[in-house]
């Protein structure tokens, strides 16, 4: 199959508000695809629809040849994901988090164990694997999430702002491995980021989304040429304008606030 992700005329409305407005794009197998856009442009909403956790209002999606709204299990088996927000269980150890993931994905015991050790070692957490995740720093959690997303050997890797809060060393390390994966094992990568130099460096193709619409699509070089910009960042600004976007505080933000008040420092 040549197209790993195919999106055609996808729409998501929340009441009156149109979060994703008739977008179409394809990602060929083995390519690294950057999905760029300002805050609130519709990136995460799109990823949610691609990954079966949100139903589109209209439009057609195929992920690895399957429809996320009807063939959820096939789609879910095809991809691994690093979410924008942390999604580890803080009260479990790193190893337990990995193990739980492997079991949910139906991996046999011996294979699971081998791959967990291999991946935990790869992200440099081997000596901390018995520690509780709540004792981890933000960067360590991120590395663990990347390792977890790769555990079941997915065909597609979704990364929603995967390198936020990581130092350049870790960032380079993770991207190096992802590029290698994409080349050697033909894994397709779909990522979002606010770091334009990162997108420029690793992405084969990018799409720029703004106000729910795709405003430009192509190789980073093409976009720079089209907008006569020296960097992808300048091209991005040329395409999406200078206005700073306001995002409403999500209920998650409010909850975090409340969680801190509620539980005090001791529990989490």
């Amino acid at each position: 199959m040549s197209e790993m992700i195919a999106v055609n005329d996808l729409v998501k409305n929340y009441g009156e508000f149109c979060a994703v407005n008739h977008i179409s794009f394809t990602v060929p197998e083995g390519k690294i695809f950057g999905f760029l856009g300002p805050n609130g442009a519709g990136k995460t909403t799109t990823i949610k629809m691609l990954t079966t956790v949100l139903d589109p209002t209209s439009g057609k999606i195929l992920v690895n040849g399957h429809d996320p709204t009807r063939e959820q299990k096939q789609v879910r088996r095809s991809f691994g994901i690093v979410f924008q927000d942390p999604s580890l269980d803080d009260e479990l150890t790193a190893y337990e988090n990995m193990d739980l993931h492997g079991i949910l994905y139906g991996m046999p015991h011996s294979e699971r164990k081998k791959r967990i050790d291999m991946l935990i070692d790869f992200v440099g957490l081997a000596d901390r694997k018995k520690n509780f995740v709540k004792e981890y720093s933000g960067g360590m959690k991120r590395r663990l999430e990347v390792a977890r997303a790769l555990l079941h050997k997915p065909r597609i890797l979704f990364l929603d702002e995967p390198t936020i809060g990581l130092d350049p060393q870790t960032r380079n390390h993770i991207w190096g491995y992802i590029q290698q994966l994409s080349k050697e094992e033909n894994v397709t990568v779909f990522f979002t980021t606010h770091y334009m130099e990162e997108a420029d460096r690793v992405a084969d193709d990018v799409a720029v989304i703004d106000h729910g619409k795709i405003v430009a699509q192509g190789a980073p070089g093409e976009l720079k040429e089209r907008t006569k910009s020296a960097t992808l960042e300048d091209a991005f600004i040329a395409l999406t304008g200078h206005a700073i976007r306001e995002e409403e505080a999500t209920s998650a933000d409010r909850m975090r606030m409340m969680g801190r008040v509620w539980r005090g420092a001791g529990r989490r």
Binding site: Q72, P86, S87, D89, E91, L100, L104, M255, G259
Partner: protein
């Protein structure tokens, strides 16, 4: 099946690793047991009700199970906001497996907490009538736990955040507890109150537990068991339905 098992185990691990929660949620039951159990003891005996502690203890055990079960179910909100729920929702397992694993785990945790309160009641002077009926008591404890974890699951699936939590505590959980016959006999009440008690699933749980532990029924073991089982099945289905409708 393995998914159900591992998600259930996760709940148990979290419970065992959080002694603060275990101890913290004992406060209220102990308070009720000591204040009411000893405070009303003489009055209850004078009114011809017998040993109030033996009457009250099953109610207090039910209370501990009720509170912990609803809370275990509602924990979905935490998992949703702090991320872990997403990890399970994108995994290639059915929502039904996830919700069963969670609900079963939550129910076992609530039951364990009920067992701890049981022991405390024994220490306070509670004596069971017939130890042969202990397995029956455990069945009732499990049904209460499963039923109210399912209610918590349904609530947790619908609510987006914890803002509504005080509402649930004050307008659902507390009334369920007070109007269940946990504190006073479910007989000889004003008609309206009698009716409310009849509608409350916990009434049958408390009665079944009290019957098997202290051998005093308002209904009968069979009635309690049948009503509770049917309600548990219905609420488990409702909880699963709402969980399956979660969108991120």
């Amino acid at each position: 099946m393995k998914a159900i098992y591992i998600l259930c185990m996760r709940q148990l691990k979290r419970y065992i690793r959080s002694p603060a929660r275990i101890v913290g949620s004992l406060g209220q039951p102990i308070l009720f047991l000591v204040a009411l159990g000893f405070g009303f003891r003489a009055m209850f005996a004078r009114a011809g009700g017998g040993n109030y502690l033996n009457f009250l203890a099953p109610g207090i055990i039910s209370m501990a199970i009720l509170f912990n079960a609803v809370f275990s179910g509602i924990e979905i909100i935490w998992d949703r906001q702090f991320g872990f729920l997403k990890e399970t929702l994108v995994a290639p397992v059915s929502r039904l497996e996830i919700v069963f694993g969670r609900t079963l785990g939550g129910a076992i945790v609530a039951m364990a907490q009920g067992a701890v309160v049981f022991v405390i009641c024994l220490i306070a002077g509670f004596r069971i009538e017939n130890s042969l009926l202990l397995p029956v008591a455990i069945v009732f404890m499990f049904l209460i736990a499963l039923l109210f974890t399912s209610i918590g699951t349904a609530i947790g699936s619908v609510l987006q955040d914890m803002q509504g939590f005080p509402l649930i505590m004050n307008f659902l959980v507390m009334p369920l507890f007070f109007f269940s016959g946990a504190l006073f006999p479910a007989t000889g009440l004003p008609k309206a109150l009698q009716f409310a008690l009849r509608l409350n699933p916990l009434t049958y749980g408390v009665d079944g537990l009290r019957g098997s532990l202290s051998n005093t029924y308002a209904f009968s073991m069979a009635t309690d068991f049948i009503v509770l089982s049917i309600l548990t099945a219905i609420l488990l289905a409702i909880g699963s339905y709402f969980f399956s409708k979660i969108q991120l």
